[in-house]
Symmetry: D2
């Protein structure tokens, strides 16, 4: 077994990148590309969590097409879509990531975001004395993710903040300023750089994928993404019902994405299924998942994003797409002027969507954007001094 | 299933206290007594982790004698005494605590400290939307516990800080000042209030317990407690060897406690076993564990505490016992004047112990002490408004 | 802690009954009733596995209505519907059942069948030296369940066989004849004793439950239950497609139940969803789950059961309902004359269903039936001498 | 992902050999050598369980010296040395082996024996539809291992029995005769083929290893190996005390090996430690572990093996070394004439050891021996047709 010092003296840094959801992969593509290209890096990939669940799309296929071969697969999600399932998944993930690191022996683990699967990857690395780089620390959001994100920061050794406000918060929390870098959002870099996919056609949307009504994407349409709120996980059914009715009554063509696996997902999914069965809305098409470039193409040409996805706050701010943000899931997050907030109330939602559709495109915001986000992250990852013992920076 | 609101409207708060080590139990006795006495509280006890390991003493017997009956037992420690074992234990703990909470349905979980078993209990509660009260947040220390402690704070809803400096740090980290209480250290309250145990006699120490040389406790003796440092876990053997040789050469009667289960424990234990086998020191008696009151009695009458236990920093500051603190495990922690720091160096350790023995007792420090620590904690636990969704306090 | 001998001397036997699926509960009702009524028994209930998954129906509600209060809940199913998920669920289950037994300290654990969740419950009990009573050992069936069932028998101390052939097989396998009892099938006892539920109306079937076409249950209808075959788990999609097309082309009104959680379930479910979306069969109604009495009522009045459920072999043999059994899932199982076997072939399935519909009801078979199954089981459970160390009976 | 059929068509069979204890490795060396040499085999090695515990010796070092490089390491043992720990270890093992197989995708898994770690490896493979070859099925023994061994046989597809009686039993249990091979015991083959290690000197035994008295191995000595009996796990302390006193009073030089990790190990270990502390026997040396060749050398030259290890029954039958077998751990196992059985009774043990020492060497028994055991196993493993679905062979 090599000691920590031995690792450090070797030329190539073994950098382990952790993918735990399809969207996470999409938003990390450029970073992974840079890591793969770097001659100083031995890239290790661990794919786990909902990224492996078929019903959320086959990320492994996309990765293979993109030239990535993961070293390790971690099936870890407990079924149930409730707090118990989410908590146990986190625990199982810690066990599994530990074994993966024990076999791969990385010099550095790179993770991003605030999800429970990410927390698993972080705790395993922390106890195994592996330095951790965290992307997107210091931001504010709702749900349990708010606590998780900051807890991850307290474990992480290197921080890539999207905004200067987030970087400030990290400093305030006692993180070492030498290890905090403000690089912009990789998500926004992705929409900024990704070109339209020629695959996004009426045929793809309406024949090959999805269920429900036919939505002509050569004409105006909106998009809806409403995820469960873990801290309000028994209200998912009621919450999504409000949005469903609002969109139904507006009679605006809509492409609706199914929710993620967080606690409460069963309520949200059931709400959608029941609505489909009994109301069968004539303007809404339901899609389970989409490769990232296709998703971005669809988003770029939509008239409004409705729901509680961070895409409304981040990606849309850069694209200028009007967003209607419902409920508390994104509360506290820094917003550009493209966002209109509403409570879970049918009439309020209808009003907000109508108003946003009337307004149309907003000017591009640089709030979450910086040039060369991924390149800067990788340059730092390959060159920065690594350390293990953290200290509260007073 | 009762909703969160329903729980809140019920008269008795279901407060779940988590015990994960024998020492943790000792230091929590008064809080548990107060909770048990309170008419507003339905006390739930979960005993897990190293508290259940026989070789660290039978805490269940002590608890029974003290009138406590746990609701749930959680065997969770992975064998190995290394980072892999510590990480996996944390993961298994999250799974197990989730099931325990799911069965007990507490309104509030109370945890303390910075150990991996505590982190398990916290993560499970956090994802299950159970409010968390944390004792001893905001302090600085070495090892991975430094990161864990702050991460726990970012999950916790109610904070009981031991010192005003710790409380300041919690505020800085974005915790809500309304929920931060400076109450002093329960550990120090315990030594302040506990009376000498009549059971601590030469017979107990030298016949009923321990191995090694005979140490006459009616004459001057020192105590040694040296735990592994998780972030230096492959150096445990060498580190303890230095201390063993120093104590051996000083020829001062010493009572030496075996290390805890942290990563590196195997190295430290092996160091002690090899030393015993080959050197067989004539002034040192080795003890595996001790009930809290007996430990406190022994400490109060010792001439010096050597090693890297927090007892040297906290309990000894109040008792005025000179402490020789070795290495980084307590680095950053607030000290009274009773502490002399040394590196892992035989000569330095000998010099420091000699100097402390010459100095003798220090004046009592109030650094970690406040009156009514436990009572104030319990008053707050029973009356404070509970909430789930955390927000970074800007 | 009480020793094993102490337990045995206490008057009331602590008998722990394990429920891991909704159907399992249905088929165990009478045994549980008898156990609950017995004055010699302290009944402990553990509910775990897919019994807790909302999408398979709320068994907890049914249990409460029936007067049962479980001591312990075990969320344990890994998501994925594939071999990895099934294997990991088994492992997690072993961990969780161990904790449950450690808290409940049963004298005897009663389990039934051959599912992975049951295997978990058995392994935990075996290593904890708790005697195990197994219902339905010695039978032959397909899939991995074939191996699991016999492995469970090798762990079990008391065997309740449904048929004399099964009892013979248990003896051959080295089980002690003194501990093998031929009692008939509890499933068949349930259909024999359960009266028609007045709740089973067109309104329930077509308005309150299910999706798809309207099926008038006052007119002739068939039922379909097709589960994944774990050892052919990547063929679920193709297999169910054959049956779907056969039923669709036959144009016979059908009530179709969704598959269970075994590996391959995602393929089967997807097959159904795709078929619904693109073919939208006009004679088929899809139901996710049903309380046992209602299910039995529906089955008793159906004209044929199609698929690979054991109900076609067991319950239907007693009811005389014609069954079309498709594929290998039930291969080797003892059949009455009501069963017609077919491969996964659309035309063969159509031919078999047509032939069975023409034939109509078969005479009642006693193959799986004996009087007082549940009562005899419980009489034995309460009075038999318990032992721990097993020995191969030569 | 390759389908099962695809795997089969590839030239090289991916055969995964599982090592879960040091002794297990020793006894599998020749099989592993043959597999490594075979041009038709892609050998995969998983090392897990107590094989990774440092205190039982560093098997990884031995493996490296012997030219093997494991693909996967699985830390999985729960601390406690009691039934709870043993059960949970099994569960954790199932989870971990599943991930390992999911990454390695073996065509065939080879396991041996009856230990809980082996059961984990088997259950994971079974649910993942990977064919299993089992070495040493069909034998009788005491403890929970008796149940485990037969349960493993019911999961296994290929059986390598050590004796014809064991093979008979496998057939009786419904295993397919075409897949049962009587090959002799690999353990016995090892002692038959292994040459004396020149490293086994007084210096090694008395200076480099072990604790306690000096035992001159150039003069007559006996060996003692007493493991816990899982089904009597609370009697380990008393049981070992009897043997310790017997050996002590006999005043015969003895080399005593520490017990394995089964439930009850803490009692046995404590018994030894207490005895050492208070009695300090003048003729006994205690050894924690030993590389296989050294162990065999030591055994071959000993005058008697005392305790309850299978080595007394198997290896010693071939070597003709007298064995005193104490208690129930090996009950039911086929014996040659070299074995004298005694209960846990000091006087009986003394009498038996004295009688065996007087008797001296027995003639070599072929009971467990056949030529070319390992070669025959590997020839079968590389050429036999593989299958997944098991069927009870009537």
């Amino acid at each position: 077994v090599l000691s920590y010092i031995d690792y450090m003296e070797k030329k190539k840094r073994k950098i382990c990148f952790v993918i735990t959801s399809k969207i996470h992969y999409a938003r990390s593509r450029f970073i992974m590309d840079e890591l793969q290209k770097s001659e100083d890096v031995d890239l290790q990939l661990i794919v786990g969590g909902s990224a492996l669940l078929r019903k959320y799309g086959n990320v492994l296929e996309h990765m293979e097409e993109d030239g990535f071969s993961p070293q390790s697969y971690i099936t870890m999600n407990i079924e149930g879509g409730n707090p118990v399932a989410m908590a146990k998944t986190t625990g199982l993930g810690v066990i599994e990531f530990t074994t993966a690191y024990d076999n791969l022996k990385p010099d550095l683990v790179v993770i991003r975001g605030d999800r429970f699967e990410v927390l698993s990857a972080v705790i395993a690395a922390a106890y195994m004395n592996i330095p951790i780089a965290h992307i997107e620390g210091g931001e504010i959001t709702g749900t349990i993710d708010e606590s998780v994100r900051h807890a991850i920061s307290k474990f992480a050794h290197i921080h890539f903040a999207t905004t200067s406000q987030a970087a400030d918060r990290l400093r305030r929390m006692g993180e070492d300023p030498k290890y905090i870098f403000t690089v912009g959002s990789p998500d926004v870099e992705f929409v900024a750089r990704a070109e339209d996919s020629p695959d996004v056609t009426n045929e793809l949307i309406n024949e090959k994928r999805g269920t429900g009504a036919y939505v002509d994407i050569t004409k105006p349409y909106i998009m809806v993404m409403q995820h469960p709120v873990t801290t309000e996980c028994d209200q998912g059914y009621e919450q999504v019902e409000k949005t469903l009715n609002a969109i139904h009554e507006l009679e605006v063509p809509a492409i609706w994405f199914w929710p993620n696996v967080d606690a409460g997902t069963d309520g949200v999914s059931k709400g959608i299924r029941v609505f489909r069965e009994f109301v069968d809305p004539k303007h809404v098409r339901f899609i389970t998942h989409f490769p990232p470039t296709q998703f971005t193409t669809l988003l770029r040409h939509s008239k409004c994003l409705v729901g509680n996805s961070s895409a409304g706050i981040k990606e849309c701010s850069y694209l200028g797409i009007p967003a209607v943000n419902i409920g508390t899931r994104q509360s506290g997050r820094l917003r550009a002027e493209n966002v209109m907030d509403t409570p879970h109330d049918k009439e309020e939602i209808k009003k907000a969507v109508t108003s946003q559709l009337e307004h149309g495109l907003y000017p591009q915001s640089q709030l979450y954007y910086k040039e060369n986000t991924s390149k800067n992250i990788v340059d730092t990852l390959t060159s920065i001094d690594l350390y293990i013992q953290k200290k509260f920076h007073e």
